[in-house]
């Protein structure tokens, strides 16, 4: 076109013509950041074991992530770098006893990352919460390893240093006289369950030194720090308030009448909240966007469901704590819930 000599060509791209605000990796990193205080508290109360477990789990998680991506012929870089596998690993490590042998993490991650995540198509498409699948698999497969818990270092007559911890985790043998029986102890929830079942009174059971003001000594503080991290996520809008509120609220509401009716065989509501995995689950696990519900109403139902099932299992079931199962069971229900809680559209 002679008339317009200086026309010029451009490459085109889809709207909006503005750089995106965030990335998956940033989201996951925030979650990891929010977990830091809780983990530090954990280390403070129970020794360095947890750090080792986190390391182990992360390594195995990334290894299986890499393997599965290769097998599925999917690009490695974006998915290895999205940190979702690490989140899975950390949350799993926080569920197992600090001295669990190393192969526990290995098998757990095989099922968590390999089965629960990648057989469903990897990031974002898994129906079940990988970390919880991993935990439940090892819990039912190796009940002994998964029930030998440590008392808080404050109470333990002899606590393990880093060297001993490593030795224990990798050899499976406790480098102390007395072996396992010497250092392990039933968790507060265990004591409660077995105690109540053998007809002892809750206040009586709570006299045991491992109980603190609400939950177990140590455990309750760890819970507080996790809650703090959770609030950070809330503030950053990584998670929505519905889930945590629903979980903790329902726990309080539902355990209250039992406690009022019979305080001798039912623990104080706050004790329910602060013992076991409730707080961690409320802020970090039940909030997993992928395996959770989509709509706000859905999330409320999801949270309440987790709380109810957990309490039922604690009260009547065979396991001292039921959070993991509760989460998986609600994962099961999530698609159905989503279907019946589609939010109202504009003008509807």
């Amino acid at each position: 076109m002679a008339e317009q000599p200086m026309t010029r060509n451009f490459e085109i791209g889809g709207a909006p013509h503005v750089p995106p605000q965030t990335t998956v990796a940033k989201v996951m990193l925030q979650v990891l950041l929010a977990l830091v205080p809780g983990v530090l508290a954990y280390t403070w109360f129970f020794g360095p074991g947890i750090l080792v477990q986190i390391g182990l789990a992360s390594v195995f998680a990334l290894a299986f992530e890499y393997l599965m991506l290769r097998l599925r012929g999917r690009p490695l870089k974006p998915f290895i770098n999205d940190y979702s596998a690490v989140v899975t690993a950390v949350l799993f490590a926080l569920c197992i006893p600090p001295l669990a042998p190393w192969w526990v993490s290995c098998i757990a991650m095989l099922f968590g990352i390999g089965f629960a995540k990648h057989l469903y198509g990897g990031l974002g498409q898994n129906v079940f919460n990988p970390a919880m699948v991993a935990y439940v698999v090892v819990l039912i497969s190796f009940p002994q390893a998964m029930t030998s818990w440590l008392p808080p270092t404050a109470l333990a007559e002899h606590s393990l240093g880093l060297a001993d911890t490593l030795a224990t985790i990798f050899t499976g043998r406790v480098p102390l006289e007395g072996g396992w029986d010497a250092i392990t102890q039933a968790t507060p929830l265990d004591l409660l369950k077995t105690g109540v079942e053998t007809g002892r009174m809750v206040p009586e059971i709570r006299n045991s030194p491992i109980f603190g003001d609400f939950g177990g000594r140590g455990w309750e503080w760890i819970a507080n720090w996790f809650a703090l991290g959770g609030c950070f996520l809330l503030y950053r809008r990584v998670i929505s308030w519905q889930v945590p509120v629903a979980v903790i609220g329902s726990v309080l509401l539902l355990s209250l009448p039992f406690w009022l009716a019979d305080p001798d065989s039912n623990p104080f509501p706050l004790q329910h909240v602060f013992s076991g995995g409730i707080v961690l689950a409320a802020f970090f696990i039940a909030t997993d966007p992928v395996s959770g519900c989509v709509s706000d109403r859905g999330r409320l139902i999801f949270g309440a469901g987790v709380a109810i099932i957990t309490l039922v299992i604690r009260r009547w079931g065979g396991y001292p704590d039921g959070v993991a199962f509760a989460v998986l069971l609600m994962n099961m229900a999530a698609p159905l819930i989503d279907r019946y809680t589609r939010p109202r559209m504009y003008g509807e």
Partner: protein, 181 residues
């Protein structure tokens, strides 16, 4: 021993009678599914499925005489819809029936048309107008592109043209995203 035989045969006979009665009582009448199948067919009426039109094909499917992958104009989408309706596994289009092609219409080259009315007779949807000895034209909006009018035309004055896609009819392409997962 004897008792057992008696009892069970009694049971058997009673149930048998019950069933026979029920079979008569609840005899099924015509199958409403044909309608729903026919609704899924493109109504091109081209007969490529091997049946003289969409509805006969629908009836054949309902009677399990024809498979669901015989309609080229319907294409993959059509097959999928049928599979959904009938709760079957989707399968690729049967190549014997032809292959899925972009929608076309036909144009009669009026300069060559001799007005023999043969195409009018052939068109299953009366998309061609014109009287004997006068040139004919195709009503574009009503032509289904079945091409049945081509063979009868003695002077081959009917051409196939693509359905138009100028800016007003312009259709945004499917985003080509480097889908990673």
């Amino acid at each position: 021993m004897l008792i057992s035989v008696l009892i069970l045969s009694a049971l058997g006979i009673v149930f048998g009678l019950g069933l026979g009665w029920a079979a008569l009582r609840f005899k099924v009448d015509s199958d409403p599914v044909v309608e729903r199948i026919d609704a899924l067919l493109p109504q091109t009426q081209c007969g490529q499925c091997g049946y003289p039109g969409c509805r006969p094909y629908a009836e054949a499917i309902a009677k399990d005489e024809a498979d669901i992958n015989q309609c080229p104009p319907g294409g993959e989408a059509g097959i999928r819809a049928l599979a959904d309706l009938l709760g079957r596994e989707p399968k690729p289009l049967n190549p014997e029936n032809g292959e899925e092609t972009a929608k076309t219409v036909v144009l009669i080259d009026e300069s060559r048309c001799i007005g023999c009315t043969l195409c009018i007779q052939a068109c299953p949807v009366d998309a061609i107008v014109g009287a004997a000895k006068l040139m004919h034209t195709v009503i574009r909006s009503e032509c289904t592109g079945c091409n049945l009018c081509l063979p009868p035309c003695p002077v081959d004055c009917i051409d196939i043209v693509a359905a138009e896609t100028s800016p007003p009819r312009w259709q945004r392409p499917r985003p080509k995203t480097a889908r990673t997962g």
